[in-house]
């Protein structure tokens, strides 16, 4: 039996609605109030932690909406399990603390699962910290992924904790960097160094001849 025009429109509308619903996420991560794309990376440098040492913390400040948050975009409470997996560690923190979901744990190995609940239209802090060993401070980086699962949906954020050698930062800051390249006839090449001899304008204000073989 042929469909009427009304029936066809209704079918198209229902299909469109279902498609829209499948793209609408029930939750997402934010960092310092900015919504993150799924799988985005947040890099956090170690700071003094108020306990006499250094730590990297996803939620360090006394600001309820600051730091790394999981936001519930629906009108119902969301419950699920979050999984922390450390993928790289040459930071070697003294402790890895994770307080998301209401209880705090000293994470000794990953993957580590924690249950959580987010109120309707609300948010909860991720509260993931790496406390550095004051007696054996080590410059380095620790990479982790946090996957929050709700039903069949997953939401992922990558967290990179770093503790950078201040001397390296200072030395790098003192080294002049190239701001722009020019051909010998004065044509700007922006930051693309041409082959052969060219001129480079440095951050210390000097222009020098440079060679690229």
């Amino acid at each position: 039996m042929k469909r009427t025009f009304t029936q066809r429109c209704l079918a198209i509308a229902i299909t469109a609605l279902m498609a829209t619903a499948s793209f609408a996420q029930s939750a997402y991560f934010t960092y310092n109030g900015t919504r993150l794309a799924d799988g985005a990376t947040v890099t956090i440098e170690a700071e003094e932690d108020g306990w006499g040492g250094y730590a990297c913390e996803t939620n360090p400040s006394g600001n309820l909406t600051g730091g790394l948050m999981l936001v519930n975009a629906t009108g119902s409470k969301l419950s699920g399990t979050a999984t922390l997996t450390i993928t790289k560690d040459n930071l070697k923190p003294y402790q890895i603390l994770w307080c998301m979901g209401g209880t705090c744990v000293n994470v000794k190995s990953t993957p580590y699962n924690k249950d959580y609940a987010v109120p309707a239209k609300g948010s909860i802090p991720v509260q993931y910290d790496a406390v550095l060993d004051e007696d054996n401070l080590q410059y380095g980086e620790m990479d982790a992924t946090i996957v929050a699962k709700v039903g069949a949906e997953t939401f992922t954020v990558k967290v990179v904790f770093t503790y950078t050698d201040p001397a390296r930062v200072s030395a790098a800051a003192q080294q002049p960097v190239v701001l722009e390249y020019f051909t010998l006839d004065g044509k700007s090449c922006k930051l693309q160094q041409p082959k052969g001899v060219s001129l480079a304008r440095f951050s210390d204000g000097k222009v020098r001849k440079v060679i690229k073989k």
Partner: protein
């Protein structure tokens, strides 16, 4: 003989004298009918009634534990609901989220607290042990667990009293226990301190240097796991302990918590 008896009986007796003779006879009969009862058997034993059970909350906590202030709030709510004297909480700073004193940071962690943390297999904080029954639980289960525990009758009645000597920094503690059934248990006595200002990590990520900690476990008086307590049905016992208070504690903010426990859990708890 018969004549003599009859003659004697024929002589009229006064009523008063007759009455006296009858009373004497009755009394003599009664006294003669009583058994000889030893002094020890003269009291009648009445089995003590079950007592109102109080609830002990062992709150495993730490100063670096951001959500632990929520447990302190829950304890205060339960104390208001059931009465201060019926809910006895002890904050045991323990495990990797607890802090030892270092530099300017006053730490509340103790080695003894860590023994309890390890023994009960605590994994996360804040978590608690309600009357040492069931499992270590999250604070969202405490309402239900406390309600169930406080409704349980208990065979044990306790009372605690003592003296604080500020000059000698000594506490003399007397714990009186009565049971209505044979008891093979342990008596544990702890010192706690309230009103301690020390830094605490807060749920919003900040560190509060002026946080006031209450019911903090400081030390056990009679060993990490207490001392033996054996009582027969109806028996009562008073045990006395002396504790020397370290200089850095505030004696005026100290409390003494005593509880009786066995393999089934905490049978009774009291606080001074």
């Amino acid at each position: 003989m018969f004549y003599t008896l009859h003659h004697k009986m024929a002589r009229p007796l006064s009523l008063n004298r007759c009455f006296r003779w009858v009373c004497c006879c009755i009394t003599a009969t009664i006294l003669a009918a009583c058994s000889n009862i030893s002094e020890d058997d003269r009291l009648i034993y009445v089995k003590p009634a079950d007592a109102q059970r109080k609830v002990l909350i062992e709150d495993f906590t730490g100063q670096r534990c951001k959500n632990c202030p929520n447990a302190a709030d829950k304890i205060e709510q339960l104390k208001k609901e059931y009465g201060e004297e019926n809910i006895i909480a002890v904050g045991i700073h323990s495990g990797p989220l607890a802090v030892y004193s270092r530099g300017k940071i006053l730490g509340l962690r103790t080695e003894e607290g860590d023994v309890y943390y390890d023994h009960w297999g605590v994994q996360e904080e804040p978590t608690g042990y309600i009357n040492r029954t069931g499992a270590i639980s999250n604070i969202d289960q405490w309402d239900k667990l406390v309600r169930e525990a406080i409704q349980q009758p208990t065979p044990v009645t306790m009372n605690i009293y003592g003296e604080y000597s500020l000059k000698d920094r000594k506490i003399v503690i007397n714990v009186w226990t009565l049971t209505n059934k044979a008891l093979d248990a342990k008596l544990q006595v702890w010192i706690t301190e309230s009103g301690i200002t020390a830094q605490q990590a807060m749920p919003d990520g900040s560190n509060n240097p002026d946080y006031v900690h209450n019911h903090v476990f400081r030390a056990s008086v009679n060993g990490t796991w207490g001392t033996d307590l054996h009582l027969d049905e109806g028996e009562n016992k008073t045990q006395t302990f002396t504790f020397q208070v370290p200089e850095e504690w505030d004696m005026e903010n100290l409390n003494v918590v005593a509880f009786v426990y066995d393999s089934s859990g905490v049978l009774q708890v009291c606080e001074m």
